[in-house]
Amino acid sequence: MTGPTAGRPLLQSNSLTKRYGDTLALDSVDIQVFDGITGLLGPNGAGKSTAMKLFLGLLSPTSGTAEVLGEKPYENVEVRARLGYMPEHDCLPDAITASEFLGHMAQMSGIPAVAARTRAADILRHVGLDEERYRHIKEYSTGMKQRVKLAQALVHDPVMVLLDEPTAGLDPGGREEMLQLIRRTGREFGISIMLSSHLMGDVESTCDRIIVIEGGKIIEQGTVSQFTQETETLVIDVDDRRDEVVAALQGRGIEAAIDGLSIVVQRQSEEQFDDIRDAIVEADARLRRLAPSRGQISDIFRRTSA
């Protein structure tokens, strides 16, 4: 996305610390979030929600700063007019229509009444609820309610939306639809997103960048491709005779080990591929796959716990 925000961070924190009594929820966190879709990944209790509340201005930091579009939201609530937020838990009224509710929410973010009604209709169309917009929200399915939750976060055309566990409670089909909608919001609508989740698959398939948080600290941050690029490990999958293949590889001076159903070896040179081929032939095994392994986001947590 290009525009007035291009180049400067939408969200930024400096030594952001939040303490609840004796509990340290965030410990001197430095975050910079730019345009695009950013995933805030971490297990439950890692500090994701606290970080979001600080950026929404619902909490004040114990020390450090949290800024949205250059403003501190806990000092100036008006900056929230350019932010959207989709909470994890139920947050919709039952007894009114989605159309009326969204119109009201748009007005609550500063859009004049007539424009608010138009925006409500447009957004409900974009999230696939055009036909159902005059039905009471209590008649909606869980998936439809989740879309209304997203729609209310977008109805005032924010610069950025914060989505807290947006796929919580959805079945696999509904989850994929919601992730697609999030990707469209980020890529087609040009609205930047910070998505918090404890599901690595959601983050990996949707986000451009990832911030990994655990125990109130940022443990990694970078682009998704950075975490999933090729590694220096080769993975060999054979149908059977794994032990014989390992012995043949070791006979050729290649360090090999069995990892689950695969054999892994450290990549050293291009000639190594010939040795591997010969070892498989010698062991009389049937080759299924020989490929460099890719990093996985879960490796970050493995490294941390190690």
């Binding site: 609530v77 929410m105 973010s109 500063g110 859009i111």
Partner: protein, 317 residues
């Protein structure tokens, strides 16, 4: 004949580049939404039944009084006047506020909508102030509509409306001031109670219980044993006198204040310089210095008001 042809284009997501209003607009929207919610506007017929039924019920006594005024004339003693009106409808107002006021803030917390309000460009105090003002607006409509109807009725039934207005114009600022005090009272207490529960029925039950139970409690604590005697004055007239011993002694006049629903009506009577109904509780309240009922009313409004605002000041999602 040419064939009509049309095409529909999907122009995709459109950014909004129109005007954006500030925090005051958000508060105004919330006020308007609250006002519509209490009247059941934009909702089903059932949601409108209670508020509109109550509106009719609070105006109905005024209609009755106007009918009486057409028969007897507006200034006959038998006709209730502006000063009596709030006493007549106070029980209806209390019931209405106990049932409808919780509707304004409890569903927002129960359904979680408050989470969406608190991330809009308003503070939690803005939120509760807007909700409070919504119900105050409705209460003012309820208290004033009957009085305005009375005024119109008295003017129309008076022999000379101009004379009537010249003699009684002071009733207008008086009923406006007294009505504002009644509306403040019936708005603040139920909302304060509602801020402590997520069940509308609990809030309504507590408010009704406070208003209803306080009547017999005050009555019991101010009950008296009276001796009546007759004496003849120097002019030869017979005068009946009474001497009452209250069960709670001198403290009875303080216990009389426990009839909390009467607090705004006492002030209304003070504004109109009117007599109470003459029952023991009224007699005891009259025995206080005028500042005491005023302070008592202020405590009953400001105390719950402070609780309401404090409760929301600390609220976060």
């Amino acid at each position: 004949m040419t064939e009509a042809r049309g095409e529909i284009f999907d122009i995709g997501y459109q950014h909004y580049d129109g005007p954006r209003n500030g925090r005051l607009h958000a508060v105004w929207s919330l006020w308007m939404n609250g006002f519509r919610t209490t009247l059941g506007l934009g909702r089903g017929t059932l949601a409108k039944l209670l508020p509109f039924g109550m509106l009719i019920a609070t105006v109905a006594p005024a209609v009755g009084v106007v009918l009486l005024a057409t028969i007897f004339g507006p200034e006959e003693d038998i006709i209730p006047s502006h000063e009596d009106y709030y006493g007549l409808i106070s029980i209806l107002l209390l019931l209405f506020s106990a049932i409808v006021a919780p509707e304004l803030i409890i569903p927002d917390r129960r359904s979680g909508v408050i989470n969406l309000y608190l991330v809009r460009p308003i503070t939690a105090i803005d939120y509760v102030a807007a909700r409070w003002a919504s119900f105050l607006g409705l209460s003012l409509i309820l208290v004033y509509s009957g009085q305005v109807l009375l005024l119109i009725g008295f003017l129309l039934t008076a022999g000379d409306p101009v004379d009537y207005l010249r003699d009684n114009w002071l009733d207008i600022p008086k009923f406006l001031a007294a009505g504002a005090l009644v509306a403040l009272f019936v708005t603040t207490i139920p909302l304060a109670v509602s801020s402590f529960t997520t069940r509308r029925t609990y809030a309504a039950a507590v408010v009704i219980a406070v208003f209803v139970i306080s009547v017999p409690v005050a009555g019991m604590l101010t009950s008296s044993d009276c001796e009546f005697s007759e004496r003849t004055t120097s002019e030869g007239a017979n005068v009946q006198t009474s001497r009452c011993e209250y069960v709670t002694g001198d403290a009875a006049k303080w216990f009389a204040l426990l009839d909390v629903g009467r607090a705004p009506i006492i002030l209304s009577n003070m504004i109109f310089d009117a007599e109470g109904t003459g029952d023991p509780v009224w007699r005891l309240i009259d025995a206080h210095h005028p500042s005491i009922p005023i302070l008592w009313y202020a405590l009953l409004v400001l105390g719950p008001g402070a609780l309401l605002f404090l409760r929301y000041r600390r609220m976060t999602i």
